[in-house]
Amino acid sequence: MDREIVIETNKLTKKFGNFTAVNDITFEVDKGEIFGFLGANGAGKTTAIKMLIGISKPSSGEATIAGFDVYRETEKIKKSIGYMSQKFSLYEDLTIKENIILFGGIYGMNDFEIKTKCQDLLKKLHLQNDGDKLVNSLPLGWKQKLAFSTAIFHKPKIVFLDEPTGGVDPITRRQFWDMIYEAAHDGITIFVTTHYMDEAEYCDRVSIMVDGRIEALDSPEKLKEQFNAANMDEVFLMLARKAKRGD
């Protein structure tokens, strides 16, 4: 199968004054891949993501997202990606349908497309009778699933998930990952950060950031082999202990 690279960075760096938040990171992500982006708090994950999604200009280095340059083509990047942040990102005082229509509209989908896809989505989430309920009446797990569905509603090439499962119970997390697999199967590339190392095991490949650098990058199996560890947790701890900067 031909490899199609959707994220490509080359020595991407972000400096704030004397502080180098992201230092020379270079990696590639293939289409349909589930790419885990790990690192302790303060390792530079969030800064790196901000550069990739086009809301922060890199200090140096290169990167293309879905084939678009992060310096010059941020508008096109924004149209080709979806994003879900660690904070819950739907409007609590709008209904489920209104939220979907809003984000569909923001991403420039037409009314017909929004309407039909909205029905399908509600059916898939078993929420077909709850479309007019306010989002704040849903339990957290449901909200997260809905937020993810909304983030990929406009069929982006890549979806960036910043700690999407924070505070969610294990069963819902498992269901959430089923949705991620399904999206990846449909050809959407998943770029995900997480604190849960069991989730790192679900990824096709994992990178681990320490002090602004990528210290390790491979499939979970190979990383465990390389570091002679029983699970990803041990791999992560081995690398994270080397960190000199704190939170």
Binding site: S56, K78, I81, S85, S89, L102, G105
Partner: protein, 367 residues
């Protein structure tokens, strides 16, 4: 364009679903004005006054009876000498004194002319004005009746003296003041809160990652409050004209234009506040303490600027509401035109530009 309207619709949902805010947004101006107007009407009824009758004849008795029988006045004191007038005012019990010159009836029937004096406590200029107007109206009434069957008319001269504040500065200050305050509060506070709420909830991040341009996000957040402010202006003006009978002497077009300028100024101020804070509470406190207090204290709405220490007079120049209130008074009450208020207009436009530039700069730094 479709993006834009979808987004504005969402902002209206936010506002309409929050019943409590709706009530504050639309009810506050009405309540403010009504409370203010109510204060005026209760105080002018049964107001305590003093009478010094140096003549004690039929004509003066007649006038005094008419004053007493009106619902506006209670005669609290009957004075016997000019010296007592000042003391009576100093106790604060009376708001107005009527003084009849000696030989009132005599002057009236022989010279066709008589003198009386109306002295009011003008530390509350609005009230002083209203009260003295009532007394002169009663006297005029009496004079008309006397003149019904006469060829040579009688004239009773009522000489009005305003104590403490002879020029009556601050006249009609309530409506312009309430407008200056409400518009600033609603536009600046509500805009900043609604922008900061998105930051606090994390939805702002999602919006910034979306293809929506930042200025579209901001403008769509601002438009609903712009519309609500316009509704408030209309309510305030309707109440002031219909309930309080304050006339609009100048051009309504100009008044609206000036008001729109001021609303835009307040909105940009709200945007500026939203760029310096990340929590709704902070935005609210900044708006209340940083905007509301100075407007009430320093804009000339509650206290005359001329009476302030120099340093406060200088600071008062920085308050947009001050310039707006001046313009509203000029246009609405004095009936002045564009050429009389261009300076104030330029100041408001200048402030708006300044707020906008600083906000844009701060917004860019944040990213």
């Amino acid at each position: 364009m479709k993006q834009f309207f979808t987004f504005i619709k969402k902002e209206f949902f936010h506002i309409l679903r929050d019943k409590r805010s709706m009530l504050v947004l639309l009810g506050l101006p009405v309540v403010q004005l009504i409370i203010f107007g109510f204060a005026i009407t209760t105080e002018t009824r049964n107001c305590k006054i003093a009478v010094l009758d140096n003549s004690k004849d039929e004509a003066t008795q007649n006038i005094i009876t008419r004053i007493e029988s009106s619902s506006y006045f209670d005669i609290d004191k009957t004075l016997t000498s000019n010296k007592q007038i000042e003391t009576a005012f100093k106790t604060g019990r009376i708001k107005l004194a009527v003084v009849f010159q000696p030989n009132f009836q005599n002057d009236l029937s022989h010279n066709n002319k008589a003198q009386l004096q109306i002295i009011t406590d003008a530390s509350d200029p609005n009230q002083a004005n209203t009260l003295s107007y009532y007394v002169s109206a009663i006297v005029m009434d009496y004079q008309k009746e006397l003149n019904q069957n006469k060829n040579l008319p009688y004239t009773i001269n009522s000489e009005i003296r305003m104590l403490y504040n002879p020029q009556l500065k601050g006249e009609y200050s309530s409506v312009p003041g309430v407008m200056g305050m409400i518009l600033l509060l609603i536009s600046a506070m509500m805009t900043s809160i609604s922008i900061v709420r998105e930051k606090e909830m994390g939805t702002m991040e999602v919006l910034l990652v979306s293809p929506l341009k930042p200025w579209i996000i901001i403008i769509s957040k601002v438009i609903p409050y712009f519309i609500i402010s316009l509704i408030n202006v209309i309510t305030i003006l309707l109440i002031s004209v219909l309930v309080f009978g304050i006339p609009i002497h100048g051009s309504i077009m100009l008044l609206s234009f000036v008001t729109i300028l001021y609303i835009i100024c307040a909105l940009t101020l709200g945007i500026l506040i939203s760029t310096v804070t990340n929590s709704q509470q902070a935005a609210m406190i900044i708006s209340l303490i940083g905007l509301m207090l100075p407007v009430v204290m320093l804009s000339g709405y509650a206290f005359p600027i001329a009476n302030m220490p120099v340093i406060l007079q200088v600071i008062s120049n920085l308050i947009p509401a001050k310039w707006y209130i001046i313009m509203v008074k000029d246009v609405m009450i004095k009936g002045l035109g564009l050429f009389d208020i261009w300076k104030e207009m330029l100041i408001i436009i200048g402030m708006t530009t300044f707020f906008l530039l600083v906000s844009i700069k701060r917004f860019k730094i944040r990213l």
